[in-house]
Amino acid sequence: MSTTEAVALFLVGLVFFFLGLDGVKASLRGLASRSMRRRAQAAVASPLRAAILGITFGALSQSATAVAFLLSSLVSARLLPLSRALVVVSWANPGTAILAFLAAINLNLATLWIIGLTGLSLRHRKLKPIHTLLGALLGIGFLLFGLTQLKRAATPIQEAEWFATVSIALNASLILGFIAGALLRVVIQSSSAIVVILIALCGKGLLGVEQAMMVIHGTGVGIGLSVILLGQGLRGEALRISYWQAILNACSACVLAVWLLFAATDMMPSLPKLLSIASVSVETNLAIGFTLQMLLCPLFGRMMQSRTDAILTKLAPEAAEDELARPRFLDEGAQSESEIAIDLVLREQARVVGALPTLLDRARLDTAGRGTLAATDVKVALESLNNEIAGFLADLTAQEVDHAGGVQVAATIARQQALIELVEAVDGIATTVARLPDESTARMIGGGLVEATDVLLGTLQEWLERRDPADQEFLAAMTADRGAQMESVRRGSATLDYGSASDQANLLYATSLFERTVYLARRVSDVPATTESSLA
């Protein structure tokens, strides 16, 4: 393989990795129902179960990086609590080591099967009910395929003459070996593959066992670097998993490296020396060293357990969108009294309405009114929160309630449906108006619709939170039917100079969306609207 081919393959690997990661994230969000969460949480209910799951994940994926990112997606989709996910991650490390030496699965072939079967199944209409699950599997397939290509792209390095020369040079310094291990792990993306290369180099007599062991220890820091580099787009809890993986691997690697350095001064015997007393082969010697390093990860995880939260929160503060996506009032016990449950749902719905103005930021005329959150992140968080509320209400309907309670639940479900549609409508207005050219008449009118939507949403939120009669009066006026008003704007846009045909079309669409937003806000508020004629 030429260098050009290797670089291209490396880029392809990265693309598939990120495509897979995005696919897994999106699909898991679709799967994130309350019942699915209960099942997922049951799988990690005890530390032992979490450890077993971690070892299995590590063994099957053969990649600590892949496990870290899969768990990031599970935590982002709120399918797993962060505390348990951290235990799973720490135990995934020994999982990767076990399979690397005991039963090497042909991951490449398995990945191809996953991609092929799930990809074709997704085209099958009869399998539509499980499309989200298939999407998640396809994402995992892409992610693993990407990692495989990254490893393949590193093949020419192993075969290059300079690599042997560098390997010989590593004999001169243990520290150099440690650094080389870290860098190699970033490039090759597989610690077990590095161990195989090292065994070959030791077999040829190019590298000493202790130097090879130091390279293995260096891979621990490399795992951390890889996870942090590939996790650049992550925030909040998802990023904490990456940092956790990096910290555990770096700690275990550094402890073993320090031991080896002390041993070099004859203060104590090194691990390879201890193992050589038992007459183990070079292969086994390095394999044990690597496995020990991986086993230290959950040990360090356990030792740092009490300070995990503090450390990770400092490194990766909670992202505002994570906080928004997490229900503040709905928990399992909240469903016992339907009246209280409905009140809690109302509070949660007010949170959704309160966050909606952020979606308008990109299209505001008033740049000073813009927040710092990205609209796309907020929309994803709101979808997640809306799923939570809908799931909570679905569970509530399963409970036995009296007639009045049933009517209340039905009305709340209808309001929730309107709220879900309101998120789409508000996002639609902002997206459409943001397309209009600055300084144009169409933009000014579209911006006016955006600012008016902002006022409406602010009043709706206050009404949902406080039920102040004054807000009710304002809301009744604001949510009156706007058919005639918007029709007048549409007629005006057809006769005046409102820019290109595309700008006019966007403005027309924005007026329709505005009408819909007003209608949906009325449904969410439950306030009887004043008639449009009374506003004229």
Binding site: P357, R364, L365, D366, T367, A368, G369, D438, E439, R443, M444, I445, G447, G448, L449, E451, A452, D454, V455, L456, G458, T459, A470, E473, F474, A477, M478, T479, A480, R482, Q485, F514, V518, T530, S534, L535
Partner: protein, 125 residues
């Protein structure tokens, strides 16, 4: 678009009333919302209940500005007062109309019309 707008808001009471006429000029946006709200609060604290807002020199209003107007209405209505918004430039008026609050904000074409409209309102309790 923002760059073409004059920055800042100027508020002054041109007639102490009743009705009290307040002239607004410049930009009423998220930056100047707090300033406007404080002004309205102090105005109502001094006893003003019927307020005519002369917007003839107001170049831009955003949702934040409209919220300041809503606050003023919420302050005066419980004490029998009312607010009239007068002489707004076409784009400012259109923005106010988009909110659907034209009846509550009592839009008028001139300060005189606004004062006349408020004079017809019943006296404060």
């Amino acid at each position: 678009m923002q760059s073409t707008r004059p920055v800042g808001l100027s508020l002054c009471t041109s007639t102490s009333g009743p009705p009290c006429v307040v002239a607004l000029s410049g930009t009423l946006d998220a930056h100047s919302q707090v300033e406007a709200e404080r002004f309205f609060q102090s105005l109502v604290a001094t006893g003003a209940t019927r307020v005519v807002l002369d917007c003839s020199q107001l170049d831009f209003i955003s949702s934040a500005g409209i919220r300041a107007f809503i606050l003023l209405i919420k302050l005066v209505r419980p004490i029998g007062g009312a607010v009239s918004i007068c002489a707004a430039k076409p784009h400012v008026r259109q923005m106010l109309e988009f909110t659907g609050l034209q009846t509550l904000l009592a839009l008028s074409d001139s300060v005189e019309q606004g004062c006349a409209a408020l004079a017809q309102e019943r006296s404060p309790n």
